[in-house]
Amino acid sequence: MAVQTVHKSKDSGASDQRQVAPRDWRYQLRKTLRRPQFWFGFTLLLPTLIWYWVFSYRPIIQAFRLSAVHYQILNPTASKFVGLDNFSTIFEHPLFWISVQNTLTWAVLSFLSTIPISMGIAVCLANIRRGRNLYQGLIFLPVVVSLVAVLLMFRMLMDSEVGQFNQILRGLNLPESKWLASTTSALPTAVGIGVWKSLGFYVVILTAGLLGIPQELYDAALVDGANEWQRFWRISLPLIGHTLVLVTVLLAIGALQEFTLPYILTGGGPGNATYLYNLLIYSEAFTDLRFGTATAAALLQFFFILIISVLQLKLLRPTWSY
């Protein structure tokens, strides 16, 4: 070891040279290996990284490889490289454009209904004096409950002959609707059910945001003579800007990836009215067993979602803060 020692003289004065251990990497390594924190972190990070590699990173890399080959399930190593052919196959799939259109319509409809309604309810909740917890608890109920159970419930209620909705309308002599059975009303109805299910979630987030605004700001505005609308538009809305952006991004990402709802509620809808993009991916992968094209379709969706999220964050980032 290159430790430089000096004779230790009896009279150790200030001019004596001390033992100096060089700060080279071996020394640092041994020092680190001695620290208990190192071992704690190491023994926990190692399985973590292994898990992430096997179940996260490797699948992502595999996805890129899968999308570029014609995958043979029975003999994977014989899969032929086809480059971008899978992508063009997907574009030419008869249901591709229908599913894209349906998915985008779904996203827009659910966005346009969820944001105003949940914002309005959040304002109500933030301004009432008593019973807030009770209301929140009941409004949040659909979020907690199993989606599949809820979907069965609504299929039952919205059956066009025997369902309760139409029975009530019949009883009130109002025109009935075909709800999930008609190609024009199926998508909006399904969106409505989705909104019903997730409304409480967004209401809770927005209410929490609203309640975080200090009361003094409202008092100051009141003193300056602001009415309710101005107080909302000039104070509440800007100050929950970052919460609203979060809600927007969550909504968009969620709506673009709907699978369970259309699969169970309508199986794609009367005709293809509720055939969403993820149904296409699923059927390509597990009904037609074409893994290559299915993954290509999924990658397309990934890029789209990425672009949308980046756009949203760039365009909507609020400039106010307090």
Binding site: P36, W39, F40, G41, L44, T48, W51, V54, F55, S56, R58, P59, I60, Q62, A63, L66, P76, I121, C124, L125, N127, I128, N133, Y135, G137, L138, I139, F140, L141, V144, S146, L147, V148, A149, V150, L152, R155, M156, E161, W196, V204, I205, D219, L222, T243, L246, I253, Q257, T260, Y263, I264, I281, A285, F291, T295, A298, Q301, F302, L306, S309
Partner: protein
């Protein structure tokens, strides 16, 4: 200028000042709106509970809420045709295992990323975070192939092993643990506590609130998970509850009263827990939103 708020409020006259003081129009309107929404949210469930006790003829003929003839035949139908108990058990095993594992890994990793300092820490964290951005559909097929290679297809382990770590959980716990004063941990170290002792004895007890919120979040997410179990679990006795419930559509075609019974069976446990713990559920979600 120090204006007393009450005086200032009184300086502004409202139309409603002319009304008798007990009528608080603003509050009443708000309560009416909220009441309406609450009805919309809860009436379907109330309807379903009673529908599960009706027979088919009664269900489709009247809109009356309460059944004229109470029957348990629907529940009998479910238990006889479908192995509901097995599915329930599968769901419970999967959800609790995943929740416990995720809580542990998220807490530990959150602690490491919040309180430890090492070379490459932020880069590593970013690497982990990136995986959250990839939608599940992208890794659906590769994961299926991987699980197949491991041999866990049609096995409960197939849906458990993919849920052991949660990037969201790590992110969430790290956010919280950054607010734990480092002095506590340093003091414990000086007193000679081992790292595990520090973690289990100081960090975890402080973090019970976010841990509980995370537990609720992960449990519900796994309990209601549909796509991945649909792909992995093929045989009926291995399936989880949502799969079995969805199968009722085909097994009991338009026998809505049986659907109602199945739905209530699935929903009842969660609703029961929710009725006691709703505050914690909601606080957890609110915490998520505020931290993000």
């Amino acid at each position: 200028m120090n204006i007393d708020t009450k005086e200032a409020t009184q300086a502004v006259r409202y139309r409603t000042d002319r009304w008798p003081r007990r009528v608080n129009l603003g509050q009443t309107v708000l309560h009416l709106i909220l009441l309406a929404l609450t009805l919309v949210t809860t009436v379907p469930f109330v309807w379903m509970i009673f529908a599960s006790f009706k027979n088919f003829k009664e269900l489709v003929s009247t809109t009356a809420l309460l059944p004229k003839v109470w029957t348990l035949a629907n529940y009998e139908g479910i238990f006889s045709r479908v192995n509901f108990i097995a599915a329930f058990g599968n769901s419970v095993i999967a959800a609790t295992t995943v929740t416990v594992a995720t809580l542990f890994t998220s807490a530990v990793l959150g602690y490491i990323f919040a309180k430890y300092h090492f070379w490459g820490k932020e880069q590593l964290f970013l690497l982990l975070l990136v995986t959250m951005m990839v939608p599940f559909a992208v890794v659906l097929v590769p994961l299926y192939i991987t699980i197949g290679d491991i041999g866990l297809i049609n096995h409960l382990g197939g849906i458990i092993v993919t849920g052991l770590w949660s990037t969201f959980g790590v992110f969430f716990m790290r956010q919280f643990m950054e607010s734990i004063p480092s002095e506590l941990i340093d003091a414990a170290r000086i007193d000679g506590a081992s790292e595990w002792r520090i973690f289990l004895g100081i960090v975890v007890p402080i973090s019970t609130a976010p841990l509980a919120a995370l537990a609720v979040f992960v449990f519900l997410g796994n309990w209601d998970s549909f796509l991945w179990p649909l792909v992995v679990l093929n045989s009926p006795e291995k399936q989880t509850l949502p799969l079995v419930l969805a199968g009722l559509r085909n097994l009991f075609w338009t026998r809505y009263e049986i659907w109602a019974a199945g739905s209530i069976l699935t929903v009842a446990p969660v609703m029961l827990i929710y009725s006691f713990a709703s505050k914690y559920f909601i606080q957890g979600i609110a915490m998520t939103g505020l931290k993000a």
